[in-house]
């Protein structure tokens, strides 16, 4: 091969952005079409630098908008090769039209989404508004809680998305700044081990196979549109989670690092549980342990796979729990919150039907403190003791001014 390999230490000190950039290099991406936006920019800058230092071979196309970035990725992917890019927030919002087109055309593009709030007011910090905006777009969505996760989940994403039984694009999420700009120890894979895990790109319906011309992006109306969307949904619902689980299993055999579709922490005998995503999972785990010392049987469920939503796996993880809090890091715009709604859906038909309350937190990068979580677990225990939800169903936590609670 004409490019140079990079010698990595077993543990490198990387932030989430650089970890993701290294994963893209090791997957030997053929084309990156990208546009800068805080806080995800260093991922594509990383690829560009690796390219100029001959640590990767491919084409970096610095386009004129995020919409064009995903449009270029779609063209490149349809041409037949490995494609990735990164974005955040407003850039993600600008891409939304093309996200639906990428998934509808069954193109296995990998998008690193460094989660950030959506304007207005303009804000560069991390919340999950952009992640939520993409939740109906037909993309697989994996959520990293740390730089290590941002690194590892990229390999999982390529392996699952490019599987010919799947052929769906995938997002790897990490929290803006909290993960993307916070350097931590990251256990690395050697270039060969990483590449072999993902494997060579196997083209399908590639435009550049001149002997077999293909038509991508057709018109369908009421005669066929529904069947296309239904087939796509069917594959998402029936094929993706088993493939993710198989990839997690292979990855554990290779590295010893275990990922789960739903991450349980102290859930075996938990009476009260917090369900959350991103960096909040780690904070919640720490507080749960402290609550246990105080005699409250607290647990944490972290969502690792946001789409397809692990409906039964989450219900299973929450079995026996009496009071549950759904933590939504996105302004719900007149509804209880995505996670609250999804959990309600999971639990409504369960025999125990536990108590569920929702908390909106951390908008625009506002810290979620241990104190918030202590209070939250205490409220959940009060619900258990009273046998009913003692608070309003939706509470805003960590916001200044008079207490905001609804429903």
């Amino acid at each position: 091969m004409a490019f140079d390999k990079m010698e990595l230490r077993d543990i490198e000190v990387w932030d989430g952005n650089f970890a993701a950039a290294q994963a893209l290099r090791q997957c030997q991406i053929d084309v990156v079409a990208a546009y800068p936006i805080t806080p995800s920019t260093p991922i594509v800058e990383g690829y560009a630098k690796f390219l100029s230092d001959n640590y990767v071979e491919g084409e970096f196309v610095m386009v004129e908008s995020e919409h064009a970035a995903m449009s270029g990725c779609i063209g490149a992917s349809a041409a037949g090769g490995r494609v990735a890019t990164a974005t955040s927030s407003q850039g993600f919002a600008l891409m939304v039209e093309t996200l639906y087109q990428a998934s509808g055309m069954r193109l296995p593009i990998i998008l690193n989404v460094v989660n950030r709030a959506l304007a207005a007011p303009l804000n560069v910090n991390g919340d999950h508004s952009d992640m939520y905006l993409g939740r109906d777009s037909g993309w697989i969505q994996l959520d990293a809680y740390s730089p290590q996760g941002a690194y590892d989940l990229n390999f999982i994403a390529f392996k699952v998305a490019e599987d010919h039984d799947v052929r769906l694009p995938a997002m790897v999420h990490q929290d803006g700044f909290m993960t993307s700009h916070t350097a931590q120890g990251v256990h690395t894979l050697s270039d060969d081990v990483a590449y072999n895990f993902v494997g060579d790109f196997k083209p399908m319906n590639d435009m550049l196979d001149f002997e077999h011309p293909v038509t991508h992006g057709v018109q369908t109306e009421e005669d066929w549109h529904f069947e296309h969307k239904a087939r796509q949904h069917n594959d998402m619902m029936t094929k993706v989670l088993p493939k993710i689980q198989a990839a997690f299993d292979d990855f554990e055999k290779l590295t010893g690092r275990k990922y789960n579709i739903v991450e349980r922490y102290d859930m075996d005998d938990a009476d009260v549980a917090v369900v959350c995503m991103g960096t909040s999972v780690e904070t919640a785990r720490e507080v749960a342990t402290e609550m246990r010392a105080k005699g409250i049987k607290a647990g944490v469920v972290g969502i690792r796979v946001v789409r397809p939503f692990p409906f039964f796996e989450i219900a299973e993880a929450l079995k026996g729990v009496k009071a549950i809090a759904a933590l939504d890091r996105s302004a719900p715009g007149g509804a209880p919150g995505m996670l609250f709604n999804e959990l309600a859906g999971c639990l409504f038909n369960s025999e125990e039907r536990p108590m569920l309350s929702g908390y909106v937190y951390g908008l625009g990068g506002r810290d979620l403190t241990k104190k918030h979580l202590v209070d939250l677990y205490t409220e959940l225990q009060a619900n258990v003791d009273a046998g009913k939800v003692t608070t309003q169903l939706q509470q805003f936590i960590g916001v200044r001014g008079p207490k905001l609670a609804f429903l």
Partner: protein, 320 residues
């Protein structure tokens, strides 16, 4: 090396192997399919094509059918150019990495889009593609209106035309703004080749397309495409309308090399130049201009066309 097609006459052209099938849903008399065939027929090389959302796209790739016997992609309204640019980037990447399935081929990358998808909603994407130097050609099928959505004005719609969003009425002569000079804007990107073409002058067009396919870098082509539905003329008169457009000099045919060197490629003899009035009179969209109160607009039209022709001639003479 490129392999360009040698076609001597229209008979040969009509029987030439085709990668754009006649089986499509375009209106009878639509010039789009004529232009597309002339572009595709310019080369024997492999083609990677795109269409932006619009008449051409909705009429040629209705599942489970396709009119395209070459790889073709449609994403959306604004980004057909960038789809091809992405494919071109992948071609370069796979060539470097020695992963092309047929490494000896010399594909040409061409995006087609209407004037709405080029002058308006796709403007930024095309500008990006031209500026970045992709080895691709963008062809505008310029019918001066949003035909696919039913006749709304675009920034290519000329003054005095009645469009559904700038309709002529008791107190209005229709569109108030003049057509945007897209060829000049694209040439200003410093691209190696840009040109205006018309399907009636097919030899001129094929020559320009072949030149565009041989140069290294982005190429912009603006093709006049008379629209029987929105320009309101009989479907059998498409070529007549195209002749009127080029012979009245409303659509002068020229090329701009490296962003500055302008050559006029069709110069009707003085006695053959058709008054603009005849061009306007042949189309229902300009019918209201022949009322007494709007006749001054026809005079202004002629003055504008004359001034533009003089300008192009000065540009050509000046060689700058």
């Amino acid at each position: 090396m490129s392999e360009m097609k040698k076609i001597k006459n229209l008979k040969e052209f009509s029987t030439s192997a085709d990668r754009f099938e006649g089986a499509n849903l375009l209106c009878p008399g639509c010039a789009h399919s004529i232009i597309v065939r002339e572009v595709l027929n310019a080369t024997n090389d492999d083609l990677i094509l795109s269409a932006s959302t619009g008449c051409l796209e909705v009429c040629t790739a209705v599942y489970p059918y396709t009119s395209w016997d070459a790889s073709w992609i449609h994403i959306g309204f604004e980004n057909g150019s960038t789809a091809v640019a992405g494919a071109e980037a992948m071609y370069k990447a796979l060539k470097t990495k020695k992963r092309l399935k047929q490494p000896d081929r010399n594909p040409k990358f061409v995006s087609f889009a209407g004037d709405g998808a080029s002058y308006d909603i796709g403007f930024q994407w095309i500008s990006g593609c031209m500026e970045r130097g992709h080895n691709m050609m963008h062809v505008v099928l310029d019918n001066e209106v949003y035909a696919n959505t039913g006749g709304q004005r675009s920034s290519s719609t000329p003054i005095g035309s009645s469009a559904t969003t700038s309709p002529a009425g008791r107190v209005s002569y229709g569109e108030k703004k003049n057509k945007k000079d897209m060829v000049a804007i694209m040439a200003s990107h410093g691209i190696p080749y840009s040109a205006q073409v018309a399907p009636n002058k097919w030899k001129d067009m094929v020559k320009k397309i072949q030149h565009g396919m041989e140069v290294d870098g982005p190429v912009f082509i603006n093709a006049v495409s008379p629209c029987t539905t929105e320009w309101k003329f009989d479907p059998k008169d498409t070529m007549l309308l195209t002749d009127l457009s080029t012979d009245s000099l409303v659509f002068p045919l020229y090329e701009i090399i490296d962003g500055h060197e302008l050559n006029i490629t069709y110069r009707p003899k003085e006695k053959d130049i058709v008054p603009v009035e005849e061009y306007l009179a042949a189309q229902g969209r300009f019918k209201h201009l022949f009322k007494d109160q709007y006749k001054y607009l026809i005079k202004e039209w002629q003055e504008r066309v004359d001034a533009n022709w003089a300008y192009l001639n000065r540009r050509e003479e000046a060689r700058v």
